[in-house]
């Protein structure tokens, strides 16, 4: 039973306070999607996604099924319970207005109406403002559907052709979470035409993670973050 279905057009921004134990599933409706995302404890937004804490706890530089996205207070915010891709980017950050203009050319609402080439940085700021948050709250983000390869010398490159049409990722909320999304190009996207990939979003009720939950058993660090979140409800 779907409780919410919505399609984010290219350039869209979106935010919602999502109740605990919902599955938020994102589906790339065409190839080459990128969705930049931020997560906050909806009850206490100072308790917010911390990318380095997440990566070092899980010994990973990519995100995939089994990973728990953690706050800087050690809490599990959302868990990746579904993933058709195997790799989502936690390193590349998000795109700014100047990079959009440089890569894809000038665009304005006056000229392009709602097809204007929006950027994730400004989208995040606008969407955060709706929840009383601002630039100070805009921490390091993650990018769903994108992959950055890192070579032995540490050089980073965006892998082209990583995301086929129909790719999905599913996130289970472990507490009431403020989710902020920007369906905007990855900042390392090649120059040319502004990528226009609609992404569908479904929110459905899901089970609380039990003892045999995949994410809880993926790594002990993820299990402890889940425990710390469960303590908030004890």
């Amino acid at each position: 039973m779907s409780t919410l279905t919505e399609t984010l057009p290219a350039g869209a921004m979106w935010s919602m306070r999502i109740t605990r134990h919902r599955l938020l599933r994102l589906t790339a409706l065409e190839r080459g999607a990128n969705v930049s995302a931020l997560f906050f404890n909806a009850t206490q937004p100072l308790d917010r996604l911390n990318v380095p804490d997440t990566l070092k706890a899980l010994h990973t530089a990519k995100l995939t099924r089994g990973h728990v996205l953690m706050s800087d207070m050690g809490h599990a915010l959302v868990s990746l319970t579904e993933d058709s891709l195997g790799w989502h980017d936690p390193l590349g950050g998000h795109i700014h207005a100047a990079q959009i203009a440089e890569k894809f050319g000038a665009s304005s609402y006056q000229k392009d109406r709602n097809d204007w080439q929006r950027n994730a940085h400004d989208n995040f700021l606008i969407e955060l403002a709706k929840h009383g948050l601002g630039r100070r709250d805009m921490v390091a983000n993650v990018n769903f559907f994108s992959k950055i390869a890192v070579d032995a010398a540490g050089r980073m490159s965006l892998v082209s052709g990583h995301c086929p049409a129909g790719a999905t990722v599913g996130l289970r909320t472990e507490m009431d979470v403020l989710v902020v999304l920007a369906n905007c190009p990855h900042p390392l996207a090649p120059s040319g035409a502004y990528p226009r990939v609609p992404v569908r979003l479904d929110i459905v009720v899901t089970e609380a993670p039990g003892a045999d939950d995949f994410c809880r058993n993926f790594r002990p660090e993820g299990a402890r973050a889940l425990t710390l979140t469960e303590r908030l409800f004890s």
């Binding site: 100072l46 911390n50 990318v51 380095p52 804490d53 990566l55 070092k56 706890a57 899980l58 010994h59 990973t60 530089a61 990519k62 953690m70 800087d72 207070m73 050690g74 809490h75 790799w87 390193l91 590349g92 950050g93 998000h94 700014h96 100047a98 990079q99 601002g134 630039r135 100070r136 709250d137 805009m138 921490v139 390091a140 983000n141 390869a149 890192v150 070579d151 032995a152 010398a153 540490g154 050089r155 980073m156 490159s157 900042p187 390392l188 660090e221 402890r224 973050a225 425990t227 710390l228």
Partner: protein
């Protein structure tokens, strides 16, 4: 590991306008003006100097690890790296580095992340996050936890594998290794000399670091 490149500095400690030793577990918050040069020295080797920067003009502009690594398209910080702000502007440039690479993926240790990483009973050990918060609270500058994000770990080596793994590798630092940064804007430098006792990267032995500042004219 790829070959590391070392860049020496000709600056002499005797001409520095500021010189201070920071014991392990302590912090430092200090204004560095545009044109001044900051050197951080790993006095005894393999010590983590957790470091963060704010614009002195507007503290909501601050160091951004993601913007920094993406703009140079490389995850390690070394000579030539421009430390970028969350507004996409260069804050400081690394002008010398005798260590060869520094980490900005691993963040700072915290009571809460120690519970996640090691065990739930590790809450009551000293951490960089607490040092950062105390330095900010007592600095007189308008900065709080809200302003604290993803920092630099000078002297730490955190490689990424081709499979997307994050490794906490043996240190590439050694006694006396240093990194030097020229400020491209007026910044507030926030340092925690890491007290971590749970991680073999510092041989379970946190040690002092030294900070020196040279003025533009020197």
């Amino acid at each position: 590991m790829s070959t590391l490149v070392y860049t020496e500095s000709g600056r002499k400690p005797a001409t520095a306008s500021y010189d201070k030793v920071i014991p392990a577990g302590e912090g430092w918050m200090h204004r560095i003006n545009r044109g001044q040069t900051l050197r951080i020295v790993d006095l005894e080797g393999n010590q983590a100097a957790d470091t963060f920067f704010f614009s002195a003009q507007d503290v909501s502009e601050r160091y951004s690890a993601q913007d920094t690594i993406r703009e140079q398209e490389a995850i390690y910080l070394t000579t030539g790296t421009k430390l970028m702000s969350n507004l996409g502007r260069p804050m400081l440039t690394i002008t010398a580095d005798t260590c060869g690479r520094h980490d900005t993926l691993g963040g700072a240790c915290a009571a809460e992340s120690n519970m996640v990483r090691y065990d739930l009973d590790r809450r009551f050990m000293h951490s960089c996050r607490d040092t950062f918060l105390w330095q900010m609270l007592t600095s007189g500058y308008p900065v709080t936890k809200r302003d604290l994000t993803h920092n630099i770990n000078f002297f730490m080596n955190v490689p990424v594998t081709p499979e997307g793994g994050l490794q906490f590798a043996d240190g590439v630092s050694a006694p006396g290794k240093y990194v030097e940064l020229r400020a491209d804007m007026d910044v507030l430098c926030l340092v925690s000399n890491c007290p971590q006792l749970n991680n073999p990267c510092n041989a379970y032995n946190p040690t002092p670091i030294q900070v020196l500042v040279w003025d533009e004219s020197c």
